[in-house]
């Protein structure tokens, strides 16, 4: 990825928040919103521009699950593994996704299309088992639904 673009994005975001130290998490969220992950260079820019030690920025970036330091796929698949979804077979659903995509949880497919993540309760237990794909909730998911769901996203790509 373009280093200059990353530096510019980071600088602009920092400016947007007036270099406010208490807004570091918001700054990181905005940068992740652009790149889908936190590029290493962006963290260095934050550290330099805001006069915060790089070790502190790294501490924040690694503490929260929502931040990723590894590039993530275009589509984010989140399998709920909360209690209700677990009871409704979340483990099997996760297994099936892993097999269909040929990756393990936390990994990204080679074509950079999908990232598979296991998450805790999404807050809609009455719809268990739940899968969230790019923020869209798929309720009452069964193993056999999975190829169809994935197909829809793959088709989008071809167009």
């Amino acid at each position: 990825m373009d280093l200059k673009a990353i530096t510019k994005t980071a600088r602009d975001t920092i400016k947007k928040y007036n270099r406010d130290h208490s807004q570091i998490i918001a700054i990181l969220q905005d940068i992740q919103g652009v790149y889908n992950y936190l590029p290493k260079e962006a963290l260095s820019v934050i550290s330099e521009e805001m006069d915060v030690p790089l070790s502190r920025v790294y501490e924040i970036a690694t503490f929260y699950n929502s931040f990723s330091l590894k590039p993530r796929g275009k589509h984010m698949i989140e399998i709920c593994a909360g209690t209700a979804c677990h009871v409704q077979g979340a483990a099997n659903i996760l297994d099936r996704f892993e097999r269909e995509l040929g990756i393990k949880r936390g990994e990204t497919t080679q074509d950079g299309l999908f990232t598979l993540e296991e998450v805790r309760c999404l807050g809609c237990c009455s719809l268990a088992a739940v899968v969230r794909l790019d923020g869209n909730i798929y309720p009452f998911v069964k193993q056999d639904d999975i190829p169809r769901i994935l197909k829809k996203y793959k088709k989008q790509e071809v167009k």
Binding site: K40, L43, P53, L54, S55, R56, V57, Y58, E59, T62, F63, L69
Partner: protein, 238 residues
């Protein structure tokens, strides 16, 4: 001044002082791992637990961050305290089976490892007390290292788990680490390695001994505005 009782003894402590310092000032020993006079206490190792009671209610607190109160009854050796301390030690032993310091403390207190606690293999001797990080930040002032991740994967190290760029090789983290987790190696031929970073050592102008990393000296020179040249003498020749 506040009046309190520790282990049945009436003690006067200055307002704002912690139970630990009040006890130690009066010769009452409380074991600690993460406590260091030079740094703000954070109560992370939980070794210094004591039982406090006031108004009929008793509870367990960490004495290194609990401030002395008027009329407080403190017990540093009660059955309950011993049990909590034993559990803390067993957990520390399970986390850091290699740590001699933890084993030593456990032996002194007659605590044996709990077989039910699975021992870790990848944690080294680190008990995550954060002393090194705090020393690097507030004493040295470079903040080269930090604790990244959380829970099971929490770990001490440089940013991105690489050799920290900001590190000046002073070794303060090594000296302050209570369990000896951080390794620093001097090869005696002018090189020091720490956190995966190699430093060139400066040679004392008088005795020729390699005494400090060049990077540390230039950091001191920059901070104190003393010319680097006059720092090139080791502490014993000064």
């Amino acid at each position: 001044m506040v009046n309190l009782t520790i282990d049945g003894r009436h003690i006067q402590a200055e307002e704002g002082s912690t139970l630990l310092s009040a006890a130690r000032a009066n010769g009452i020993e409380i074991p600690t791992l993460c406590h260091h006079e030079a740094l703000m206490p954070t109560g992370s190792c939980r070794m210094c637990v004591v039982e406090v009671s006031k108004g009929g209610r008793t509870r367990i607190v960490t004495s290194c961050i609990y401030l002395a109160e008027e009329g407080l009854q403190v017990n540093t050796k009660s059955q309950r305290v011993q049990e909590v301390r034993k559990l803390v030690l067993q957990l520390l032993m399970a986390r850091c089976p290699e740590s001699e310091v933890v084993r030593e403390v456990a032996k002194e207190m007659g605590v044996n490892p709990e077989p039910r606690f699975k021992t870790s293999k990848d944690k080294g001797k680190c008990i995550l007390c954060r002393l090194c990080v705090k020393a690097c930040e507030s004493i040295v002032g470079v903040s080269a290292i930090g604790l990244s991740g959380r829970g099971q994967t929490k770990k001490v190290g440089g940013p991105f788990m690489e050799a920290p760029q900001a590190c000046i090789g002073c070794g303060s983290c090594v000296y302050i680490c209570p369990t000896g987790h951080i390794v620093m190696e001097d090869d005696g031929k002018g090189h020091r390695e720490i956190w995966g970073k190699t430093f060139n050592m400066a040679q004392c102008r008088t005795c020729g001994r390699y005494f400090a990393p060049l990077e540390q000296l230039s950091f001191i020179s920059k901070a104190t505005k003393v010319p680097l040249e006059s720092l090139m003498v080791c502490t014993s020749c000064r």
